[in-house]
């Protein structure tokens, strides 16, 4: 059994990134993710890497674009308002088919919002991170261990599919401390013949570009990209299922909401209610099949979220509205209690709330 160390979620991300071979980090301070930058500022100079505090989130994501263009693993991290600023760069990364790892340790919004945990950037992450047709691989850790593991996985998927992997965490995941094993296997990095590293006067020049003024060509670039996205959807969807096999009431929850919900499921089972939990680990691709299967035997779904209800749309789509889906939520930095979730389970089961 590998040795475990006690780490904050944000630090686990930073350490796992280094483990994955990332030697370039660019960021801008924003609560509640600044520990990632602080960790990188300490560590990178000692291992021959680059830590640079950028003048803005916009500059940081473009520095990421620059390093990624040269084929190296690179990351940035921020929290909700900062991710909005990065959205221009996220679109350009997608348009140029560049891999990158971006971390969003979410806080409540909209606007400046607050600094307490939230999941209200779900739409932004899974639907509209920027202009144009594109997707990001969205990974939702629910423990400090997963913060580390999904960071490594995020780099690998980004390289494999030439797209951005986004870690969609929240303030609790970033701040809480848990024992972590960093004995994580990292796959060898793939070749990147498209990278700009200088032609050495030995090949035709490479160009990293998202401009295409001929509509037929631009359409084809989009179609090719969506073929890749289809492969991601077919191969990479991940979810944890907890007591789902015979469940009549199924909770959908990710991140901290899933941990709260697991307690409520345990309590419901004690009280004789057949409750279960599906925890999407990838929010895009959304684990549709798992939900479609559960909809065959469940009589109700509950989406538990730290938002005004965003993932609930994907739950309804994946269950094809065969069974009712209700929302159990808190917003603005508040977290639902196990009691609140248990009450929602009882109500969905046909009893008194």
């Amino acid at each position: 059994m590998a040795e475990k160390v006690l780490m904050k979620g944000n630090e686990a991300i930073a350490e796992a990134a280094i483990l994955a071979g990332c030697r370039h980090y660019f960021g801008y301070p924003i609560t509640p993710q600044t520990e990632i930058a602080a960790y990188m500022a300490k560590k990178m100079p000692k291992i021959g890497g680059t830590f640079l505090q950028a003048e803005s989130e916009i500059a940081a994501i473009n520095m990421v674009y620059g390093v990624s263009s040269t084929g190296k693993r690179v990351m940035t991290s921020s929290s909700s308002p900062g991710i909005s600023l990065k959205s221009e760069g996220l679109s350009y990364l997608a348009g140029a088919d560049l891999p990158a790892l971006v971390v969003n340790v979410q806080r409540g919004g909209p606007g400046l919002g607050g600094i307490q945990p939230s999941q209200s950037d779900y739409f932004q992450a899974t639907r509209g991170a920027g202009h144009g047709d594109f997707r990001m691989i969205v990974l939702a850790p629910a423990s400090v261990q997963e913060m580390a593991e999904l960071t490594v996985k995020g780099f690998e998927l980004a390289d494999e599919y030439r797209m951005t992997s986004l870690i969609l965490a929240d303030g609790t995941m970033g701040q809480m401390m848990e024992p972590v094993s960093l004995d994580i296997t990292v796959k060898p990095q793939p070749e990147k013949p498209w990278a700009v590293t200088g032609t050495k006067c030995a090949r035709f020049h490479n160009s990293i570009n998202s401009l295409s003024l001929v509509p037929e060509e631009l359409e084809k670039f989009n179609s090719d990209r969506y073929e890749r996205y289809a492969k991601v959807e077919a191969n990479e969807a991940m979810a944890e299922e907890y007591m789902v096999d015979d469940a009549e009431v199924v909770i959908a929850a990710f991140g901290i909401a899933a941990r709260v919900s697991k307690n409520a499921v345990n309590e419901a089972r004690k009280q004789g209610i057949k409750a279960g939990l599906i925890r999407p680990i990838t929010l895009w691709p959304f684990p549709k099949e798992v939900f479609a299967d559960a909809a065959k035997h469940a009589k109700a779904f509950i989406s538990v979220e730290l938002s005004m209800g965003q993932m609930i749309e994907d739950v309804r789509l994946s269950t094809r509205c065969r069974v009712p889906v209700t929302l159990c939520n808190r917003a603005g930095g508040m977290i639902p209690s196990p009691e609140q979730v248990l009450a929602a389970i009882k109500q969905a089961n046909g009893g008194e709330a």
Partner: protein, 253 residues
């Protein structure tokens, strides 16, 4: 027979899209000649802007990147820092790109003395979008979005980039040149070569501002546009070296 004039190797053999009389072609050529003369084509990575020179990524034979509007210095920072020993990095940017939407990226790359070369083409107008007011449009200059002439009371004064950046401790070298005569083109090439040589020598941020023309959107013949540079642009944007740290240090010895 001896060849006395030919296309630089670093310039691709494809037609450019620039308007007749545009000076981008001259400036591209100067950059390419310098790359050839310094023998750095194989390790150079160029970064094209958004604006008229957006398709510069097709015109140079070195590796190229197309940037988001104004972000070239940030991308250049990433490219340079990914392999400082082996990458020679230049950005090629217009006035809207560098001095308006990308001003923060410009100032901070200069303040960090980022070891990159910036070619800043200032023609006092947004050419690609059809001739709107730029951060460098002159007072009184008529453009699509200043149809009664640029009124400083309404929209402020044009920005003198070299003068502004020269106030920073960071940058190594700032010079303003123009390309409206053979003599000036020769001086411009010298400045561009120095800006690349500085990077090779590890000296840091070097920016050459090239005052240029836009006959199409200025509504002039190419010849009249070159004269307009002398009569109107140069008085507001005086040519010369605004910062040369190495020369200053030498002089202080």
């Amino acid at each position: 027979m001896a060849v006395v004039f030919q296309k630089p190797k670093a310039l691709a053999d494809i037609p450019m899209h620039y308007c007749p009389g545009c000076t981008h072609g001259i400036i591209h050529r100067l950059v390419a000649e310098v790359i050839d003369e310094l023998g750095i084509e194989g390790k150079t990575i160029g970064i094209a802007p958004v604006g008229c020179s957006v398709m510069a990524y097709n015109y140079f034979t070195c590796d190229m990147i197309e940037a988001a509007h104004g972000r070239a210095p940030a991308i250049a920072t990433g490219v340079k820092r990914s392999d400082p020993e082996n990458h020679i990095v230049f950005t090629y940017q217009g006035d809207g790109d560098l001095a308006s939407i990308g001003m923060a990226e410009t100032v901070h790359a200069a303040a960090r003395n980022e070891n990159i070369t910036v070619i800043f083409v200032n023609n006092a107008i947004y050419g690609m979008t059809g001739g709107q007011m730029a951060p460098t449009s002159l007072p009184g200059q008529i453009t699509q979005t200043s149809p009664y002439g640029r009124d400083p009371k309404l929209c402020g004064y044009p920005i003198r980039v070299c003068e502004m950046l020269s106030q920073l401790e960071g940058p190594e070298y700032l010079e303003r040149v123009t390309v409206n005569s053979v003599a000036n083109i020769r001086k411009a090439k010298k400045a561009i070569k120095k800006a690349f040589q500085n990077q090779i020598d590890g000296k840091g941020f070097s920016l050459v501002e090239v005052v240029s023309s836009c006959p199409t959107n200025w509504g002039m013949t190419p010849q009249a546009a070159l004269k307009w540079i002398d009569d109107n642009m140069i008085p507001y944007y005086p040519l010369g070296v605004y910062k040369d740290r190495t020369a200053e240090q030498e002089a202080a010895k």
